[in-house]
């Protein structure tokens, strides 16, 4: 959303899963940019397509049944969807680092943490083993692990959840990535530990100038770390803009309803706002706007046509007919 070339430019990305129950439209026509040194938050409920977004960028979508059907993912102007498998292997863990929700499943239980960091460094740089070891210990120190020389030789199960997530961050950052994708990095952690990890990611971002994609279902986490936010619902971006603006002045009825439905300490309400109904199945999506069966402001057109993501003069993007007349229309997909 800046004039300068963004680090990552995703356009019209569609990733579908071809299952027995039909086609699951996990990601449908999603576009966004990540500017250099910025954090994009992707927020949405379970099944809204957040992880599939991350996996699509990394080209790690399980296939079959999944397939990136269309779209482009440009990293510094080059479409990485066109790269060979071998090139992708270099990019993953090299230019793009990734941190997953459950560090226990993404760390290999039979290797020491030090070994796993070293391996990543050896794969992505010209270091020899001695240099790689030094760098691994330095990384452990950087992510705030006490006694890094000792921890180097320990196995993942010997560490607490917070420490394991620090190790994952150390691995992801060991090759100086330009983009760090964090998929629910703190969801399995306690809040006081979560605060430590978020602070760490923020500090490291500042030190290295990397950009971050922060994926979470927790609007509070996004509030704390993101410059921009994309709100997803049923595989589509519903609203996209500066995080502060989206949270203080939501425009899409889904964003607004969601914000009102979560309790917070500042605004004490008697009764919580309720979003009636439930999230639609992605293989049997409703006609028209995907949110219309639950939308209090739905109009006739909402039942018939799919709204496009349109950009307002202030740069905010909203996928809703309530916000589409007065603004310049983008090509209507989907």
């Amino acid at each position: 959303m800046t004039d300068k070339q963004p680090l990552l430019k995703v356009r019209d990305l569609c990733t579908y899963f071809y299952t027995e129950e039909g086609i699951v439209y996990a990601l449908d026509d999603v576009s966004f940019d990540v500017a250099r040194g910025q954090t994009l938050g992707i927020v949405g409920e379970s099944g809204s397509g957040k992880s599939v977004t991350a996996l699509s960028i990394m080209r790690l979508v399980q296939s079959p049944p999944g397939r990136i059907v269309s779209g482009t993912v440009e990293l510094l102007g080059e479409d990485i969807l066109k790269k060979s498998r071998k090139e992708m292997k270099q990019i993953r863990g090299g230019k793009i680092g990734m941190i997953f929700q459950e560090p226990m499943t993404s760390l290999n239980p039979v290797y020491t943490v030090g070994n796993q960091i070293m391996e990543s460094i050896l794969l992505h740089s010209d270091c020899n083993r001695k240099q790689a070891k030094e760098r691994a210990i330095e990384m452990l120190r950087l992510v705030g692990i006490p006694l890094p020389e000792k921890r180097f030789g320990e196995y993942p199960h010997q560490l607490s959840g917070g420490m394991r997530q620090r190790v994952m961050i150390a691995i992801a950052l060991s090759c100086n990535p330009q983009l760090l994708i964090c998929d629910e990095p703190t969801t399995a952690l306690d809040v006081t530990i979560q605060a430590q990890i978020l602070e760490l990611i923020n500090d490291l971002k500042q030190q290295t100038g990397a950009s971050v994609i922060m994926i979470t279902h927790d609007l509070g986490v996004i509030s704390r770390v993101a410059d921009e936010v994309m709100v997803m619902y049923a595989g589509k971006a519903m609203e996209y803009g500066a995080a502060r603006d989206v949270f203080t002045q939501p425009r899409h009825p889904y964003t607004a309803a969601l914000l009102k439905s979560i309790p917070n300490l500042e605004e004490d309400v008697e009764r919580l706002h309720v979003i009636e109904g439930m999230v639609p199945s992605l293989s049997k999506r409703p006609q028209g706007c995907l949110f219309h069966p639950r939308c209090k402001q739905a109009m006739t057109v909402c039942q018939e046509k799919r709204p496009a993501l349109t950009t307002a003069p202030d740069g905010r993007r909203v996928r809703c007919f309530l916000h589409s007349d007065a603004v310049e229309k983008e090509a209507a997909h989907g």
Binding site: S223, F247, L265, L272
Partner: protein, 321 residues
């Protein structure tokens, strides 16, 4: 607190689990330590704290789903801490539980009707035909269409399954329901439906809840009073409003600051606490929080602070408060 107002009283409760290695006890997981608190009729007591601090264990001890190591649990005037399962059976009617996981807590081979009427059968309440009427009434009350009475749990969404669990819990008109993370597994847009339902049921029937959650915003919303647990100890207990403006314990303050709030004003960007939670097997000496507390004094390492009433109804366990 007047005697007759108190429904549930926990007195100096301890619950320790033996840690066995090679069949021999090698110490204990000290899950609940010297906890005393009370729950009044019709009120919600929120119980918050981080993973492993003993919330579930405390809750299960209250309704005697587990035996207690030491101390007393007094329910409705009766000491239930040493009762056998057989002696507890008639009391079970008044103490129910709603579980966190709406997927695994419902028997997949039972219909919704059978699930909801199970406690009625167990308590021998109503005739068979009256039971069906009662189930329909409960489904209606919990926002489930009674036409689905013959369906199976897998045919429902997470939010609907949680409603089934709630209908089952309130079927026998209990006085007390332990809600153990009742909305944590639900989608954000579904959570408020379930929270409102629980609160509506309370204002209609006067049930008391112990509401366990690690989500402070949710607990703050539903509770009248809140107990904050750290490593099995109550470190602060007060009316909900106190937690908005007058949190006193250093851990409580850090905990509330650590919760990211939506909206940006005064957002804390610095982590309020360093270090990990200590193991509940080797509890720190003195104040259990002293290893992470930013204000630790020498006496904090040696002396356990009592839970003292610093203002009416506001209890804090800290030497410096």
């Amino acid at each position: 607190m007047a005697e007759q107002e108190v429904l549930m009283a926990v007195e100096n409760l301890n619950k320790w689990f033996p840690v066995r290695k090679m069949g021999r006890a090698r110490g204990y997981v000290k899950a609940v330590n010297d906890v005393s608190l009370q729950i009044r009729r019709g009120e919600t007591l929120g119980i918050v704290g981080e993973s492993g601090c003993g919330k579930t264990t405390l809750g299960r001890a209250m309704i005697r789903l587990t035996d207690v190591t030491d101390g007393r649990v007094i329910f409705d005037g009766q000491d239930i801490s040493r009762l056998s399962e057989k002696e507890l059976r008639p009391l079970r009617r008044d103490m129910q539980i709603i579980f966190q996981d709406p997927y695994s807590s419902l028997n997949p081979r039972m219909t919704v009707g059978d699930i909801i009427s199970e406690p009625l059968v167990y308590q021998n309440m109503y005739s068979a035909s009256e039971r069906i009427d009662r189930v329909r009434e409960l489904m209606d009350l919990c926002g489930l269409d009674p036409v689905y009475i013959r369906r199976y749990p897998h045919e429902f969404s997470g939010g609907q399954r949680q409603r089934i669990g709630i209908a089952r819990a309130i079927a026998v008109n209990p006085k007390f329901v332990l809600c153990d993370e009742p909305v944590s597994a639900l989608d954000v847009s579904i959570q408020s439906q379930v929270i409102n339902l629980l609160m509506d049921l309370q204002s209609r029937t006067g049930i008391a809840y112990a509401f366990i959650s690690h989500n402070l915003n949710v607990v703050y919303h539903v509770s009248r009073r809140i107990a904050v647990l750290y490593l099995g100890r109550v470190v602060e207990l007060a009316e909900r409003e106190t937690f908005k403006n007058n949190r006193a314990h250093p851990y409580t303050r850090a905990l509330f600051e650590a919760i990211p709030q939506v909206g940006f004003d005064e957002q804390q960007k610095k982590a309020p606490l360093s270090g990990d939670l200590p193991s509940p097997v080797d509890l720190p000496s003195g104040c259990v929080f002293h290893t992470r507390c930013p204000y630790t004094q020498p006496r904090c390492r040696t002396e356990v602070p009592d839970l003292r009433e610093i203002d009416p109804g506001h209890y804090v366990a800290c030497h410096l408060v």
